[in-house]
């Protein structure tokens, strides 16, 4: 199975060196090959196994207390004015959703 390591790195916003690309490509291909055994199983007559719940059992829309801001920021390596601060140029002003 072929892997486009450059494309995958781009999606994960990682910059890999030429050396890393050469090293990771066969590694990832091996992983995919091992996993591809699963593809050989005939699942055409098997129902997907997934838990089911009735609509009424969903969470009622009642707000509860959130974390304290101090606690939220404890996990962040950098913060500023109550915000989590992230360094990097790749974030050039595009908002997803």
């Amino acid at each position: 199975m072929k892997i486009d390591i450059k494309h995958i790195a781009k999606l994960s916003r990682l910059s890999l060196t030429q050396k890393e690309e050469e090293k990771f490509t066969p590694q990832m291909e091996t992983i995919l090959e091992s996993a591809s055994v699963l593809q050989e199983v005939d699942t055409s007559k098997v129902q997907p196994m997934k838990a089911r719940i009735p609509f009424d059992n969903l969470r009622e829309d009642t707000p509860k207390k959130s974390l304290e801001q101090d606690d939220v920021l404890k996990n962040a390596p950098h913060s500023e004015d109550g915000h989590i601060k992230v360094y990097g140029e790749i974030f050039g002003g595009i908002e997803e959703s």
Partner: protein, 501 residues
């Protein structure tokens, strides 16, 4: 010879505009989509409405909000969609700091609502492909550090996980105005049904048009898709983001039509891309090449079970439906003979249309159908809207309108009374009664007052009798002053002329 103008029109007409619209609407819930953090983040301290779930901390599990899904279904019902019997959530992966889990919980192959339609106020039918449920991302702002020159982003996760529905149309929109009308209609419906405040400036509603130009006669719209005719290769589409108002929906599409026409005329290859609307410059700007669906590596969300929706659930939700604004507008035109303009303005908000209908119903007790509708719409769109106040007692306002219709009070006086009683917080009905009583007393005394004015102004009377017609105006003024403006100037004039013969 053709003028320059004609040439450019001909160039434009070589292509058809194809637009599909994606509209995101934050739905009006108290708690977030998959956790119980409060939603109202506007002007709140950053990162105070967050918990392990909406921060994407390891091991935290999402639990869907029932009300959010009800609102998604409600929008689906209003837009004549089919409602799925099962809800399946999927993970949409991309790596970005506003998305802490590394994926957004969304819906891919099975949206809750599909295959609907809605009509715009100008009668254009817009096909809805789907409405699905997802979650909003965090808010990030981008800066440069003074000391180091490094770029960085500041992230506030309060918005992360707020319920969001995405409404997707088929590529069936053919003009920029239809796109604007559709967005307007969605906003109205969202507000009518209490689904969302849909304030675009606050980001509660976001519109993203997908735009392409195709050569005339080289494409067809079949099964909700644009298909090439023969060996024609379809031009790729451009997605425009960052649109902050309904007018910008129209303007950005118009801009893209011009830009794409020029590119095509110059023989350039058009790249599928995302562009951002710049509201200061009224242009779109290149942002990036668009990621494809494959890049999002969609997969079923394993942390949320399949949710089963019964017919009873849908029936219960549909009890919240009301006649949608465009239907209401059509009824006002068809049954009540309102002008298209009046019908559109009055039906544009649920509050004003409900006020109108109550006022109409009350006037119907005393007036015929046509007059009731006309007076109700005139008074609502005139003085009531001007005061921006829908708290005026319907019955009091009706009495005022009826007094005017009976000729007991002039329109100016009636409006003045309405303004005054609202401004000074007085009871309109009592004020009206007082004024009418005053006027009756005055009418009885008017002859005497006129005689008195004639006696006091001998000079003016002589001038008038000597042929100076203009003096009559002065005398009318004197009488009006003596009655403190309560008399009808035309009536005063008639009495004066009679007396001075």
């Amino acid at each position: 010879m053709m003028s320059e103008k004609q040439i450019s029109t001909n160039l434009e007409s070589k292509y058809d505009l194809i637009v599909g619209l994606e509209i995101h609407v934050q739905t009006n819930t108290s708690s977030k989509m998959f956790c119980s953090c409060p939603t109202g983040y506007f002007q709140e301290e950053p990162n105070t409405h967050v918990c392990p779930v909406c921060l994407g901390l390891p091991g935290a599990l999402p639990v869907p909000n029932k009300r959010a899904i009800e609102l998604c279904i409600l929008m689906g019902l209003a837009l004549n969609c089919d409602i799925d019997k099962e809800i399946h959530f999927d993970r949409k992966h991309y790596f970005y700091p506003d998305l802490p889990k590394g994926y957004q919980i969304s819906q891919y192959k099975r949206p809750i609502c599909s295959d609907g339609y809605v009509e715009t106020t100008s009668g254009v039918k817009i096909d809805i492909e789907r409405i699905h449920q997802e979650e909003d991302v965090a808010k990030s702002t981008h800066h440069v550090e003074n000391s180091t020159g490094k770029q960085y982003s500041l992230i506030d996760y309060n918005k992360s996980g707020v319920p969001l529905i995405e409404i997707v149309t088929r590529p069936c929109i053919r003009t920029a105005k239809d796109a604007k009308d559709f967005a307007t209609e969605i906003r109205k419906i969202a507000r009518y049904l209490g689904i969302s405040d849909a304030d675009m400036e606050k980001g509660q509603m976001r519109c993203e048009p997908n735009i392409s130009l195709q050569e005339k006669g080289k494409w067809e719209y079949r099964d909700g898709q644009i298909l090439p005719v023969g060996d024609y290769k379809l031009n790729p589409k451009v997605e425009v983001k960052n649109i902050g108002s309904i007018t910008a929906v129209e303007k950005s599409i118009q801009y893209e039509v011009e830009r794409l026409t020029k590119e095509l005329e110059e023989g350039k290859e058009i790249e599928q891309q995302t562009r951002g609307w710049n509201a200061d410059k009224n242009i779109t700007e290149y942002q990036r090449t668009k990621e494809t669906a494959d890049d999002y590596r969609y997969m079923p969300e394993p942390d949320i079970p399949v949710v089963e929706i019964s017919d009873e659930d849908v029936d219960r939700i549909s009890e919240e439906l009301v006649e949608i604004p465009v239907e209401r507008m059509k009824r006002y035109i068809g049954e009540l003979e309102l002008s298209e303009y009046a019908a559109e303005v009055i039906s544009s908000s649920r509050e004003s249309s409900e006020y109108f209908e109550s006022l109409y119903k009350r006037l119907r007790q005393d007036l015929n159908e046509k007059d009731s509708a006309l007076e109700a719409s005139n008074w609502l769109m005139g003085p009531v809207f001007a005061m921006g106040n829908l708290d005026i007692e319907i019955n009091d306002l009706a009495l005022l309108i009826l007094a005017f219709k009976e000729g007991d009070i002039t329109k100016n006086k009636a409006e003045e009374l309405l303004n005054q009683s609202v401004k000074e917080d007085k009871n309109l009905a009592e004020e009206l009664e007082r004024v009418i009583q005053q006027k009756e007393e005055l009418t009885n005394n008017l002859d005497d007052i006129v005689k008195e004015v004639i006696q006091k102004n001998t000079k003016a009377v002589e001038d008038y009798k000597g042929g100076k017609q203009a003096t009559l105006g002065f005398l009318v003024g004197q009488v009006m002053q003596a009655t403190k403006g309560a008399a009808d100037p035309n009536e005063v004039r008639d009495i004066l002329i009679k007396e001075l013969k």
